[in-house]
């Protein structure tokens, strides 16, 4: 009973990808093959799929027919035949990918073996990016299914030049970065490009391409600083705390005048009139008293003045650096690279 359940689950795994792609089938023989596969009539699937392959099929239909054969041979434990069928699938549709969660391990391993036996460049991706010319690169990723000599180029459209991005021996997942610069250091001219990855192994070759658009923009300049983040100008004056100092000083100065007058009076002339000192000294004391009651005058805060001077100097230096940076930035180009929709331009060579 358990073995039957496992077999049913396995068959359901084989059936899932085929059923999912049955909608686009136009060929009647292929539809019958699909129906036979759904009904688990494997021998009939093989004969109908082979018959369909002798008929006129579209590319996707042809890939579907081989895929049905691959899943069917896999279910029939004819692994070598399944691998051959899957090799035809990936040669027709190199981007074909099986979901390991939805297909049987047998079919998946046959598909994986088929991938390793065919030289393919798959999953070529060029990410959108924006960077200042000379300070960044365009990320390029792809997968080579066999060890091969791989040359990656960017071919400018409309008779433009060809720029070699990379040339090397690769296998598996490959990550490249293209600085989008010419040999003389200038940024790549704006326009449409096609990133072409050519893999060659002996007589076998395969290429994949991805169109991209490179556009130029001006690099943002930096604004001048008026303040430094986290640092603020301090008040250059401070109001001292209220005190009796004004009255004390008035007393001190008036007292000095009084003591001087008393001490220097001529003994032969007698005591001099104090009327004049009383008027002026009284005025000084009253003024001192009033000033004691009033809010003291702000006085320069030496530490704050020094701090502000240092801050101004620092901001001036930063602005000088920013000005130099902006001069350089005005001579720079901001490159924006965007991948375009991909035409069906891949195939064995």
């Amino acid at each position: 009973m358990i073995r039957h359940l496992c077999a049913l689950a396995l068959l359901a795994g084989f059936a899932a990808p085929a059923a999912g792609s049955a909608q686009a089938v136009q060929n009647a023989t292929l539809r019958r093959a699909q129906q036979a596969y759904d009904n688990l009539e494997y021998r009939q699937v093989v004969s109908l799929a082979r018959a369909a392959l002798r008929e006129r099929l579209t590319g996707p239909e042809r890939a579907r027919a081989y895929e049905l054969l691959g899943f069917t041979y896999g279910a029939m434990d004819s692994i070598l035949k399944a691998v051959d069928a899957f090799k035809q699938v990936v040669l027709i549709d190199p981007e074909r990918q099986l979901d390991p969660n939805r297909v049987s391990p047998k079919a998946y391993s046959a598909f994986d073996v088929a991938l390793r036996q065919v030289l393919l460049v798959r999953q070529l991706r060029v990410d959108s990016t924006t960077f200042v010319g000379g300070r960044g690169a365009v990320p390029i990723r792809f997968t080579v299914t066999q060890p091969a000599r791989v040359v990656t180029r960017a071919i400018a459209g409309a008779g433009g030049g060809t720029y070699v991005i990379d040339s090397g021996a690769w296998n598996g997942q490959v990550n490249l970065s293209w600085p989008a610069r010419l040999a003389n250091g200038d940024p790549a001219p704006a326009g449409s490009y096609t990133v072409v990855v050519e893999a060659r192994l002996g007589q076998n070759g395969f290429s994949a391409s991805q169109p991209i658009r490179v556009s130029h923009g001006s690099v943002d300049t930096l604004p001048s600083l008026t303040t430094l983040p986290g640092y603020q100008y301090l008040s250059e004056t401070e109001v001292p705390p209220q005190s009796w100092r004004p009255l004390g000083l008035a007393f001190l100065y008036t007292g000095g005048a009084l003591i001087g007058t008393l001490g220097l009076e001529s003994s032969s002339l007698g005591s001099s009139s104090k009327r004049e000192l009383a008027v002026v000294g009284g005025a000084a004391l009253v003024t001192g008293f009033v000033m004691t009651l009033r809010k003291p005058a702000p006085r320069p805060a030496a530490a704050n003045i020094l701090y502000n001077r240092l801050l101004r100097d620092q901001i001036a230096r930063r602005n000088q650096d920013i000005a130099k940076e902006n001069v350089a930035r005005r001579q720079q180009v901001q490159l924006t690279v965007v991948p375009l929709s991909k035409p069906s331009g891949a195939g064995p060579r």
């Binding site: 002026v280 009033v290 005058a297």
Partner: protein, 216 residues
């Protein structure tokens, strides 16, 4: 037009042009109270007067000029029988050698009319002053000047002459300042009348000036 009036007019005209040169100038009238004693305790006068004062400051340099016209009458109990009129001119230039102190030099010239009613005095001032801002716009000042090389209309000489001062400047409103100044002057004059030997003929004066000044 008297010479004093002409001097005041000249000061006002000069003060108008000063701000453009970065010079702070004040000019204003003054009212004065004066006490004067000479030779002996019995010879004393008191009076009042009017005048004008001007000051200018340029950086650490400053200058002051004061002119007073005083009318003195014998004080009660004085042996003097008649009063006199005095004209006093004081001038200083100073240099701030510290935030609250400066050295100064100047001249004093006081003349009496009638000429021999009192001693006319002229001397060179050399001294120092201390000043302190005791509040917003309020400054007190204390000065001590030695009066060097004094000359007297009646002859004689003075081995010791000193002039002490107390000053006050308060900014009342805007450019208007209130000023007050006190001066105590002691001159130990000696004279030798008729070649009979030197006798003491000291001079002692106190002057209080109260006035207004306009700053430019």
């Amino acid at each position: 037009m008297s010479r004093a009036t002409a001097g005041v007019v000249l000061l006002v005209l000069a003060s108008r042009a000063a701000p453009a040169q970065g010079v702070a100038v004040t000019v204003g009238p003054q009212f004065a109270l004066v006490s004067y004693r000479e030779v002996a305790a019995g010879l004393r006068y008191q009076g009042t007067g009017f005048g004008a004062a001007a000051s200018a400051r340029y950086g650490k340099l400053s200058a002051e000029l004061g002119v007073l016209r005083l009318t003195l009458d014998p004080a009660s109990g004085s042996a003097a029988t008649s009063g006199f009129t005095a004209t006093e001119v004081d001038a200083w230039v100073a240099y701030d050698f510290a935030v609250y102190a400066s050295v100064e030099a100047g001249v004093i010239r006081r003349t009496a009319d009638p000429e021999f009613a009192a001693q006319s005095v002229g001397a060179v001032r050399i001294g120092a002053r201390s000043f302190y801002e005791i509040g917003p716009g309020a400054t007190v000042l204390f000065r001590a000047n030695y009066l060097a090389a004094p000359t007297f209309s009646g002859g004689g000489h003075a081995s010791f002459s000193i002039d002490l001062g107390l000053g006050l400047d308060v900014r009342l409103a805007g450019r208007l300042h209130g000023t007050a100044g006190y001066t105590f002057q002691r001159i130990s004059r000696k004279t030798n009348p008729g070649g009979t030997g030197e006798i003491d003929a000291p001079i002692q004066a106190t002057v209080a000036r109260v006035g207004l000044a306009v700053g430019f």
